[in-house]
Symmetry: C2
Subunit: 142 residues, 2 copies
DNA sequence: CTTGAACCTCTATCTGCTGTAGCTTGTATC
DNA sequence: GATACAAGCTACAGCAGATAGAGGTTCAAG
């Protein structure tokens, strides 16, 4: 039987975060000692590791919920898991694209700044006037 | 005199967001009509445009606050604006790096999936076992 | 003068946690 | 068995950065 702190250490997850995952139904409700402390089995550790790893790959908690449901029913075809992963891949690719546009613009901004007074600062000038931008960047980098 | 809806349309900012910016002190408190509605000058529009453009380039509201302060005092040297922009550039570059590692891993995941049953789904398998990962990805893409 | 779009305030919600306060439990050591 | 104290517990507040809705008021065109 594992205490919550053990799961925490072994998965690199904050104790509060584990309790939070239970609260939102991502982790099953843990068994308790007579005194009310949570106790876990190895399978709970595996589930938590799955969640953390998915988070590291950028999946939302909702996507992870779907993936866990699939994982719990091993007889279905895995097309759905595949499509969730592809969706995530597309999102990551789009974010990269947007960030690269931002990077280009920021680079140009700082390259043109010659350290003169704020009055003629290129950085501030560009921020003031979007029309000076060379690239499109209409969405906020999320 | 411009109504809040006009600022909203001309900058692509939701009305609530403009009020939110006022609430947190990014926008100055607007003047009011006798009936209590906000009214703006062109300079407020410019300030809002500056904020939105900075947000599109990924600057945090705190950074924007600093940039606005600088912009309001045009006689100082612009080294500080420059360093804020450079910091932002570094952040963007790091995010791109992390996302590219994720992309690589996700690509491999979906490439190896052959549509068989969930039981042998590569996607789920990789999520279950971090040691199958080829790339490092220890931080969550933010 | 009437209509109705646009405005107002206030509060709640979202994502994904993280931190704090104040108290209780479990376990190792004496 | 007593004691110390790390680790657990609940409950609630807070972060960024908005966004949405309820329920009511104002402005401007016709």
């Amino acid at each position: 039987m594992l205490a919550i702190g053990t799961l925490s250490r072994r998965t690199g997850t904050k104790v509060q975060t584990i309790r939070y995952y239970e609260e939102i139904g991502l982790m099953n409700e843990a068994g308790r000692t007579a005194g009310g402390q949570r106790r876990y089995f190895e399978k709970d550790l595996d589930r938590l590791a799955f969640i953390r790893h998915s988070r590291q790959l950028g999946f939302s908690l909702d996507s992870i919920r779907e993936l866990l449901d699939l994982s719990d029913n091993p007889s279905q075809p895995c097309a759905e898991a595949d499509s969730i992963a592809r969706r995530q891949l597309r999102q990551v690719e789009q974010r990269i694209k947007r960030l690269q546009a931002l990077k280009k613009e920021l680079k140009r901004m700082v390259a043109e700044c010659d350290g003169e007074s704020v009055a003629e600062c290129k950085v501030l000038e560009v921020l003031r006037d979007h029309s000076e931008c060379l690239t499109e960047h209409d969405e906020i980098g999320a």
